[in-house]
Symmetry: C2
Subunit: 380 residues, 2 copies
């Protein structure tokens, strides 16, 4: 996508303004997490400086957000932008390509991880076994440091075919500050590994950070069940939670508890297709939820692409709320005026649709032509 | 497979004998869970009666097992059989085809569920959205009782697009003794539903059995994360467990804690391909783990098909143990004598392979020609 969708960047879009001499709604700019402008120009140095500073300052924890900025020299001028970050993808490195690795890779791909599988036996990392993974690396487990880097964006799962290789991998990995490190094994094997590494001088605190035996205790027996137990543990470590059934309480976090969503691969697909439609001059509009109140099926950041002929990519939650946005998107495609559209899910029509979510949402709807300002390079 | 692999049947194979006048090793018979003989004949009424009685008596809870039976009239005669049950597949019915249903269906298919998706909007249950599912049913949520049955083999997930439909589904489902019933929703929505149904006279004990809000508390935010949290809860309800990280204790169940495995789709594929190879007269052998001691990567019931030209389907755990079985299988393919082969994973060669599992396993290896006794009907 030539700079538009490098995943360590944010797309910044003007969605509101006050006291400005000209209409900026829909103006876009792509800013890297280090503050560097990748493409686009909003022609307002005071705004661009403030936005870049905000992105740079929050790079580690940037989420979809709506921010209002004031022109400090002319305080009557303000611009509201939506900041849509594309984080570096989470990495999962699976050491060992055996029968557990296969369903773990499938589930990790659903979870939008970039997956790398490593084995020293080429037949165990064939494309047949691991469709859709990012990398399949055949190397000795002694050489993993030479071919891979293990940074804080990495989760690592040790599931080689034998204890000795598992121990070699653990000895290598224990030095790195990875997001999650899990090792499979019986309690006896895990205890033997722990004793061995402590004898070698590795601190027990470091070993205590390793998830071994790996996974949540859900009685998993089959490889696919074990894969779910591992994926659930990885999510829990990343997001937090008690792992109790939500019905019995838990920490109170439930489906979509936050006001914003992280961009999912579906939302990224919306942007990619919007850029494509813009390049091809197709009549289409992007709808992005910018604010919600009360209970709504999706939250701020969720996106949908609506084509004039009726086709839709992505979802902002379905039901009649989505239908209403779709109709308004047709108006936007016709008059090319980006705008915020407010939807109440309390409406009678919503109730009759079985859609009594009780919430309201504001949706920014823009024609895909707004993306022309941030296109760089030629066609793909 | 014309009777061989109807999934409410067990394949019974003779793997050992004492005092018998003729060699029965490898003789097979397919017996339905109700005791009815589906195909095959071991020509030993005393054995067949005892086996059928055992299967009938344990139909609800049949697992892979090795059993020794004595001829009560000639107690010096005994036969050891392996009983390989094919249980009816677990069913998952997803009510609502929205953004949560899609990743739930993907993970449920990995878990060998037969998946049915229901929505009243045909575009939400397209084959594109739900590849590989068993049924996609378009009907009003008021009519689900007319088109589906909800037995104890069913898990049901209520994720329609709106509160009213969810409530209608819950009102219908609460009457049925399904294995698992989950409903998505905010705490507020769930509480409203509970109050409504209690007002309508439904006992609160019944409602307490419903998993609502659905899923384990792992901080799930994206649809795929929510799907993992739901799948993990379904496994936990089915298998048991504390849902704590295994590293912190749990109930002690870890990967492959039992001595037997339930047949996975990979093991079923082995049988299907063995039957096919038998029909086509291909030289091949099936290896089935019949007993294990100590720590082994797979347990009794796990299967692998070995072709003379070297190709393998399925796995009995990989590593050098599997290699040894593969070599012995070539001998079995040549001499056509089914036999039990014992493997020690403590061997030096195992250690050098990093495979210090410390266990032993007995593997029954049989030429695929043994399946000819249970073939029924013609080619597929």
């Amino acid at each position: 996508m030539n700079g538009v969708l490098e995943r360590e960047t944010a797309i910044v879009t003007v969605i509101g303004q006050e006291g400005m001499p000209e209409n900026l709604i829909g103006q876009k700019k792509v800013i890297a997490f280090n503050g560097e402008v990748k493409s686009g120009d909003m022609k307002l140095p005071w705004l661009e400086e403030q936005v870049a500073a905000l992105i740079r300052g929050n790079a580690a924890n940037l989420r979809f957000q709506i921010e209002k900025f004031f022109n400090l020299e002319k305080p009557e001028q303000s611009v509201t932008v939506m900041i849509d970050p594309y984080l570096p993808p989470r990495q999962l490195i699976i050491l060992g390509g055996g029968h557990i690795a296969v369903p773990v890779a499938s589930i990790a791909l659903l979870l939008d991880y970039q997956v790398t599988v490593v084995d020293d036996r080429p037949e165990y990392i064939s494309a047949d076994r691991f469709p859709g993974v990012h990398r399949r690396i055949c190397c000795s487990f002694h050489d993993i440091e030479k071919v891979l880097s293990f940074g804080p964006e990495c989760s690592v799962l040790i599931v080689t075919r034998g204890h000795k290789h598992d121990l070699d991998c653990l000895r290598t990995l224990i030095k790195y500050p990875v997001a999650y490190l899990g090792m499979i094994g019986s309690r006896r094997k895990i205890e033997m590994a722990r004793q061995q590494l402590i004898q070698e001088g590795i601190e027990s605190e470091k070993l205590a950070r390793v998830y071994m035996p790996v996974g949540l205790d859900i009685g998993a027996e089959t490889p696919a069940e074990i894969a779910v137990s591992i994926a659930a543990e990885m999510i829990k470590v990343y997001r937090g939670g008690s792992a109790n059934s939500l019905k019995t309480g838990g920490t109170g976090k439930i489906a979509h508890p936050n006001d914003t969503e992280m961009p999912s691969s579906a939302d990224i697909e919306v942007i990619q297709n919007a850029v494509k439609a813009c390049r091809e001059g197709l009549p289409a509009a992007v709808a992005t939820i910018v604010r919600t109140a009360g209970s709504t099926p999706r939250k701020a950041g969720a996106k949908m692409l609506i084509f004039r002929e009726g086709r839709i990519i992505g979802t902002i939650g379905g039901g009649c709320g989505e239908s209403e946005v779709r109709l308004e998107a047709f108006n936007v495609i016709d008059d090319l005026k980006p705008r915020v559209h407010k939807i109440s899910l309390n409406a009678d029509i919503a109730a009759s649709e079985g859609m009594v979510c009780g919430g309201t949402m504001e949706v920014f709807i823009e024609p895909v032509s707004t993306f022309s300002g941030i296109l760089t390079g030629g066609e793909e």
